[in-house]
């Protein structure tokens, strides 16, 4: 029976860990989370969001809005029901601008801000309602467990982690328990703290605060009123077990090289816990807790041998995404009916077709003006022969034929052809506009090349210029005065020789009236063409059709889209303003760096022992599986969606949408075609037992440096879990037997207590060792046993002096859970 579990990440580090949990779960099950688990994360940084996943991202973001920090803190201070003594000065900004600014007091205040508090409470309640909906009710198995994960170095994590744990206890009445996993800084390669005083001071303050509510000496009660009016009163510690990990190992093992590596290990740990490890651990730890072999604090060693199938799939997805985006902005080639075509060599044909299309549009636009009704039920085009007949038979009331015709076409006369056409010229413009849109959008959808569309749009501009020049040669002008002059000449010509001798005078005059009508249309449409041209070339906002709101394609917008796609693909160097930009090339490099990172205790193995070969092989397999030689938009947005309208969404979101849609859809496709196959890890152990042993033994070292007095370190105990975790017992047996028989490595056993079988686990073999008991039988307490705890104390005391702050001011911003009194802290 799966245990209902809520995982809450705090701050950006918390988010990264939860993302890793989601990633591991997806890798092993093809889903982002099981039904009995909910992911939440609390964030004060408005620019931090969950990353891309192939399926819908299941991490629910709860934003702790700190933009109105000053107002919020003042409001909390004024609230008489609340104890606001811990609140920081409202007007200050913190160590930096983002989120809680590195001040735990701001982090805590962010949780307490009225709207924020209610939002967090609602999110927890919703998560509880979701995971609580399981088959078994009112049993131990139906009680939810909550994991809170985050870093204690920043303002958000160290500010909210205690309140949050108690808040969860207060909201979830039948809670099983709250578990914490907290990341603290290591000493790093340099071993120094210079320049990083803030993160070490925050860590020290957070550990002291945690111990304030956890340690047995003080036995401090947590008793207060929450901003929503509810009260909390707890005598127990906030966490059943708070696990502390860092990049440093206890012992001579080199540190994990990157923070991302630590997130990965934390993610693996939490993932294993929702996938069966928690139950196994708890069965053993009950005895350890009962016998004082485990306290409220712990840590662990964790290592794995993994075939990084999910990373390879993502890498392949990123490469395919880059290929697709580069195809869309290839300035030299485009695809026509599956064949590559050189843009330059096809230019003549493209020009001819585009000109022809424009002429067709113009004809359609002019034809629509023919159908304008000049009298009820009579269109102009049908009215012209009647007028010709009237002139030839003198059946009109004007003084002369000249005047009669002049009144039909003059701008100075109302209710005539001129007015009728002028009132309808917008319709004609809309036909041309929609036609240009359809031509360009159709080209983008067919050929998936924006440079081609750019070229076509430029040719349309040429066609407009050419048309306007032609009209100019005909002496057509958009100015009414010039039209009147032209009309005078036209009428004189119309009334000349009319071929009466062969009885063709009506036809000839009709023809000439039509000719003048065409000139009238040109005269009134010229301005519209100029507007269209101007908008295409330099418009900031697109002209649109009146009825259907179809937008005119613009060169500027195309340039913008091309630039965004180029930057998303990583064609251009990243700009300073691109901080928030999602770049595929950067992601590809990141995955590669991660796969090549040997500092994390996960050994990446491949069937061919060659990462590059695996990538090439997978790509080839994908292409064969999908029966394509190049990626298309159908892979990403489907056949039904127009690429043109997809790319024309708001430019602020285009980068994010492109990035996430491409990666997630290609990942799905890659999975669908099974382009990256599974690998049986035990075969690697059988081939390379020494290498496997090297990585397995890293799990024996805790992920935190202890032993400040050079004598105290962790010790193993039968009640403290040490496990080999694999997909089935025979695989684990083969591995453990290989270790013991071939290389005499006996630290892991394959008896019931040493093994955790997780049937769904794929492509990974994990080694886990829990830590919490010291060799002097003391229980692990980070405020006593961390290797650098004395340095932290000193740093916490000295830094305020260096920064010109009083000890009390320093305390208020760093340690909001403890009232300022030296004896409490030291």
């Amino acid at each position: 029976m799966p245990k209902p579990t809520i995982i809450i990440g705090i701050g950006t580090s918390g988010l990264r860990v939860v993302e890793q949990v989601q990633h591991f779960y997806y890798e092993n099950t093809g889903k982002n989370k099981p039904d009995h688990v909910e992911y939440l994360y609390l964030e004060t940084d408005e620019n931090s969001y969950p990353g891309v996943t192939a399926l819908k991202n299941e991490i629910k973001r709860v934003y702790l809005d700190l933009r109105e920090k000053e107002t919020m803190i003042n409001a909390l201070k004024k609230d008489a029901k609340l104890d606001g003594s811990w609140l920081p000065p409202a007007g200050e900004t913190g160590d930096n601008e983002a989120g809680a600014g590195g001040w735990p007091a701001f982090g805590r205040a962010a949780l307490w801000g009225h709207q924020n508090f209610n939002q967090v409470a609602t999110s927890i309640n919703n998560a509880y309602a979701n995971v609580g909906n399981i088959e078994v009710k009112n049993t131990e198995d139906s009680k939810p467990a909550v994991f809170i994960v985050g870093s204690l170095t920043g303002g958000t994590g160290s500010g909210v982690f205690i309140d949050l744990a108690y808040m969860v206890r207060n909201l979830i009445t039948d809670i099983d328990d709250v578990f914490g996993l907290f990341l603290i800084p290591g000493l790093g390669k340099e071993g120094g703290t210079a320049g990083k005083e803030t993160i070490y001071c925050n860590t020290y303050a957070a550990l002291k605060s945690l111990d304030y509510f956890t340690g047995k000496k003080n036995g401090t009660k947590y008793e207060l009123s929450y901003p929503n009016g509810s009260r909390a009163r707890f005598e127990k510690s906030p966490y059943k077990l708070a696990q502390i990990i860092s990049q440093d190992y206890d012992g001579p093992v080199p540190s994990i090289g990157t923070l991302d590596g630590l997130y990965k290990m934390a993610g693996l740990y939490v993932f294993l816990n929702i996938y069966g490890l928690r139950e196994k651990r708890m069965r053993r730890l009950v005895d350890a807790w009962g016998n004082d072999q485990m306290g409220k604090y712990g840590t662990f060693g964790l290592s794995a041998i993994q075939y990084p199938k999910a990373q390879l799939e993502e890498f392949l997805a990123v490469e395919l995404s880059m290929d697709l985006l580069n195809r869309w902005i290839d300035p030299h080639m485009y695809y026509a009916q599956g064949n590559k075509v050189q843009m330059n060599s096809a230019r003549t044909i493209i020009r001819r077709d585009t000109f022809a299309h424009f002429e067709k549009l113009l004809r359609e636009a002019f034809d629509i003006l023919n159908t304008v009704e000049v009298e009820k039920g009579r269109q102009i085009i049908n009215d012209l022969p009647r007028k010709a007949k009237s002139v030839n038979t003198k059946q009109h009331n004007e003084e002369s034929d000249y005047l009669y015709i002049w009144k039909l076409f003059s701008s100075q006369h109302a209710g005539n052809y001129y007015e009728a056409v002028r009132n309808n010229v917008q319709k004609a413009r809309d036909i041309v506009l929609a036609g240009i849109h359809d031509w360009i959008a159709g080209s983008v959808n067919r050929h998936e090349n924006l440079y081609l569309a750019h070229m076509q749009l430029q040719i349309i501009v040429e066609a407009i210029d050419s048309c306007l020049n032609y009209w100019k040669n005909l002496k057509v002008s958009g100015q009414p005065a010039k039209w009147e002059a032209m009309l005078d000449q036209q009428i004189k010509w119309m009334l000349k020789k009319r071929y009466k001798s062969v009885f063709e005078q009506n036809n000839v005059l009709t023809d000439r009236l039509q000719n003048t009508f065409e000139l009238l249309k040109m005269h009134l449409f010229a301005h519209k063409l100029v507007d269209l041209r101007k908008n295409i070339v330099e418009g900031d906002f697109a002209l649109a059709t009146f009825d259907t709101n179809i937008e005119l394609p613009r060169l500027k917008r195309l340039d913008e889209i091309i630039a965004i796609i180029g930057r998303t693909a990583g064609k251009e160097e990243r700009q300073k303003s691109d901080k928030q930009l999602n770049v595929l090339r950067a992601r590809r490099d990141q995955i590669l760096d991660d796969l090549k990172d040997t500092s994390i205790p996960i050994l990446r193995v491949y069937p061919s022992n060659d990462l590059q070969y695996e990538v090439e092989k997978s790509k080839l397999k994908y292409m064969q599986g999908s029966a394509k030689s190049f990626p298309t938009k159908n892979d990403v947005i489907g056949e039904q969606v127009s690429l043109w309208s997809y790319l024309h969404q708001a430019k602020d979101t285009l980068n994010k949408t492109l990035y996430s849609t491409c990666i997630s859809q290609f990942e799905r496709e890659v999975r669908k075609h099974n382009s990256v196959e599974d690998m049986v890890i035990s075969t690697f152990v059988e081939k390379e037992p020494k290498e496997a042993q090297r990585i397995a033994s890293r799990a024996l070292n805790a992920l935190v440096k202890v032993n400040p007095d050079q004598t105290t370190t962790f010790r193993d105990h039968m009640n403290i879990p040490k496990l080999v975790i694999g997909p089935d017992q025979p695989t684990i047996n083969r591995v453990v037997e290989k270790f013991t028989e071939d290389i005499n490595f006996n630290d892991f056993s394959n008896d019931e207590n040493g093994v955790l079988v997780i049937p769904g686990l794929k492509n990974i073999l994990v080694f886990y060792a829990e830590k919490g008991l010291m060799n002097n039988s003391q229980l692990f307490n980070p405020t006593q046993h961390l290797r650098y705890i004395d340095n932290l104390k000193e740093l916490y005391d000295d830094t305020p002096k260096l920064r010109g702050k009083s000890a009390q001011d320093w305390h208020i911003i760093r340690m909001p859970y403890i009232k300022f009194a030296k004896e409490d802290i030291r």
Binding site: L474, Y499, E504, N507, V508, T510, D511, N515, F517, M522
Partner: protein, 133 residues
């Protein structure tokens, strides 16, 4: 003077007779040309969706009418010669050639007209009426 001596006689009488015959032939030719032109215009009207301006088409029909007229006129000349007696053909007499002057004038006029009309037609084509562009 009957009709046949007006159009089919090779006999020279005097100058007024010659002028009369000349005017009669020219009038008859004009009538024939008009009939041909009208027939062509009505028998081959402009197609409804024709891109060619009506005026250009009419000019073209007239240009077509001229060669057709020449054919008809040649038929007339054939009968004109056929009806002549051998004694009428006085090749040595200058008056014989004077008698042929009306037919000659019609021939030359038709050719001149063709050239002038052709020139006008080409000019009109170049102007290309905008309504049919």
């Amino acid at each position: 003077m009957d009709i046949s001596s007006l159009f089919f006689s090779l006999e020279y009488r005097d100058i007024p007779d010659l002028i009369l015959r000349c005017i009669a032939l020219l009038l008859m030719s004009a009538l024939a040309l008009w009939v041909i032109y009208l027939a062509l215009v009505k028998l081959f009207p402009a197609k409804k969706k024709s891109a060619m301006p009506r005026e250009i088409l009419l000019k073209l029909r007239f240009l077509t009418a001229l060669p057709v007229f020449l054919v008809v006129f040649s038929v007339y000349i054939y009968f004109f010669v056929k009806t002549a007696k051998p004694s009428d053909l006085q090749w040595q007499q200058p008056t014989f050639y004077v008698t042929l002057l009306p037919q000659f004038i019609v021939y030359v006029s038709v050719i001149m007209l063709f050239l002038i009309q052709y020139n006008g037609y080409m000019k009109a084509l170049k102007k290309t009426e905008v309504s049919h562009a």
